[in-house]
Homo-oligomer: 92 residues x 2
DNA sequence: CGAATACTTAGAAAACTGGCTAAGTATCTA
DNA sequence: TAGATACTTAGCCAGTTTTCTAAGTATTCG
């Protein structure tokens, strides 16, 4: 789990919006792009950041690339947040 | 609740470390500074970011300034994370 | 094969971040 | 009141991030 990559990915509002758009199911890059004003290239950059954090997974379907939430990282994220506040002996 | 301020504040590893240091109780700016290598001024900047996100509260005690976790925001943060992944009708 | 579609990668500019030093404010103590 | 202590604020600089356009890759279809 790439803690820093995850928090960094979540720091941008557009990327959080992408995650929310994916909550109800996978979407192609193009479908996601419809929700945003900036260029496909900029979107693609955001996808890359989300992928680096393993928050999303991709799958090529013909000429399309389908993005979906990586739910297994969700637990990691929840754990990280808990860890920030939960009282315990310092581990580091 | 300042969503963007919260995610931005959590994006920096030093700031997450500050939060962890505060889990077991309040600390003065000076006590916190002992855990870091950089200048008091830089630390102070990080404190300001955490305060802007309302993740910490401060209280002056004589010449010291005491920092403590603002636990009431903890629920907000958890909620924000849940919201990113939980399936539901898009609200925005 | 060649053109069209769907994305990504590269490279550059503008804005933001995170560090520093120096200077300023608040409080205590002699 | 003067000096020391504990922080914060201001201003600066280097490195990162976010956006764009242009160029490149993968896949489909005629």
């Amino acid at each position: 789990m790439k803690q820093q990559a995850i928090f960094k990915a979540l720091a941008d509002p557009s990327r959080r919006r992408i995650l929310k758009l994916l909550r109800n199911g996978s979407k192609t890059a193009g479908e996601l792009a419809e929700a945003f004003d900036f260029s496909a290239a900029s979107l693609s950059h955001h996808f890359a950041v989300l992928k680096a954090a393993e928050l999303v997974r991709t799958e090529r379907r013909g000429q399309y690339i389908v993005y979906s939430l990586n739910m297994s990282v969700f637990e990691d994220v929840s754990g990280l947040v808990l860890e920030l506040f939960a009282v315990r002996e310092d581990k580091r």
